[in-house]
């Protein structure tokens, strides 16, 4: 087995894909597939991604944890995407990923909101308008404290706008209060 075959096979095993078209005459991949070491590799890789994502995507991470799907989201992101080795880029890629692949509409809303805020802070031109079905400040406060609960989800209808020209980064306007 040459280096090419070894590394492609290991990549497939780590990302939980089928190892296809690779000569395994020594039985190496078969032995690794059922090994505790492979489980450790995956655990370490996910631990690193979790560490990077938690510290970069505070709001989305807290919401996903509240919904008990943070680990699943990180695992799905890890297995399916070619993420950057750099922390800041991984965070942005994760937020992008949530917007495309997460089935929860409110997770998609919060992740796009958080991404817009991050881009704004980085000096990028951003203009985002979205509708929130809950009172945004209460939710954001709960998420920032990583202490979100059912009580934070106060029903309503709000226009949330993130704009790079806005010194406050974003504005919240209750629907029906437009002039």
């Amino acid at each position: 087995m040459n280096l090419n075959e070894l590394q492609v096979g290991v990549l497939d095993l780590i990302k939980s894909r089928h190892v296809v078209g690779i000569n395994d005459s020594t039985g190496y991949f078969l032995s690794v597939k059922g090994s505790k070491e492979l489980l450790v590799v995956r655990k370490v890789a996910l631990w690193w991604r979790t560490l990077q994502i938690e510290s970069f995507c505070t709001l989305s991470s807290a919401l996903l944890k509240y919904e008990n799907c943070f680990n699943d989201a990180v695992t799905s992101f890890y297995n399916s995407s070619s993420f950057s080795p750099y922390r800041d880029e991984v965070g942005i890629q994760f937020l992008d990923y949530l917007q495309v692949y997460n089935s929860d509409a409110f997770v998609r809303t919060v992740s796009s909101f958080e991404l817009a805020l991050i881009q704004c802070k980085k000096g990028k031109a951003v203009s985002l308008s979205q509708t929130w079905e809950y009172e945004p400040y209460t939710i954001i406060s709960g998420l920032l404290q990583n202490a979100i609960s059912k009580e934070h989800f106060v029903k309503g209808s709000y226009l949330v706008e993130v704009c790079s020209g806005n010194a406050e980064l974003f504005t919240v306007t209750p629907f029906g209060s437009h002039q």
């Binding site: 087995m1 040459n2 280096l3 090419n4 070894l6 590394q7 492609v8 290991v10 990549l11 780590i14 990302k15 020594t26 190496y28 032995s31 690794v32 090994s35 505790k36 070491e37 492979l38 489980l39 450790v40 590799v41 655990k43 370490v44 890789a45 996910l46 690193w48 991604r49 560490l51 510290s55 890890y78 070619s82 993420f83 950057s84 080795p85 750099y86 922390r87 800041d88 880029e89 942005i92 980085k122």
Partner: protein, 287 residues
Amino acid sequence: MSYSIGTTYEGKNLDYLLRIAPHVDHIEVSPDSISTNIGGAVTIHPDILKQLQWVATETNIDILLHGVGLSIGSYDHWNDEYLRLLDQLFNSIPSIKWHSEHLAYTRVNGENLGTMLALPRTDEVLDLVSERVNAIQERFKHRFLLENVASMLPDPGSKYSEAGFLNKITELTGCGLILDVYNMECDAYNFGFKIAPFFDELNINSVYELHVAGGAIDAEHDFKMDVHSRRLSQSTLDLTQKVFDRSPKNLKAVTYEILEEFVGNIGDDNIINELTGLRNMSRHEPQ
């Protein structure tokens, strides 16, 4: 005998840097960890670059670079972006003492593995790594070191012993080594790696720097983890002393590696105590 004593710094906590500054001769910085994305390009974070320039010009602390993401052993290609980060750092801080990378791979076909894996010790890898080390040394003109990594997966079949392989690379390229003694302990625990014969075979004079760290055993899988999350254990200190006792003539520095996320858990005072302990050890004559 007295070695430069230092620790990891990831650029995000200036108060911490100022607190440890009187206790270190060098800090070791990972270009990957201090990078950010500006305008679609990966670059060194401007604020952190300023901090490092201040360290380089206004203090007696040396700066060492220690990469994570070059992926020197990927069969297809290494990470060009990482080399551009090095370009930026060397151009901005000419006094950087040396730089280093892990003898490992972190990506395949451009896809990030999310962790770092050891390479098989074969002639194919020896040729690949040596060619790339030579290219790095040609490009940067600074001393370059390779570090032994902790194995995560079983060896797929190697021609060379661990020490024999390191000896070959250093002979072929003239690069130096970082010997990570905690990684050796991980390999001993997880894969039965024999440390004494390794020391007997290794050309100890290739070692320019030691890495020491404190990690933990993953109870679920009974696996010793290379996580840099704790204080140093006595076994790591004993192994460090064994290296000192061999009087490696080119050993210059000892670095206590700590992940930034665990600095708070370990505590500044404990970190300073560990650095002081290493300094005291390094001042003793070989036993």
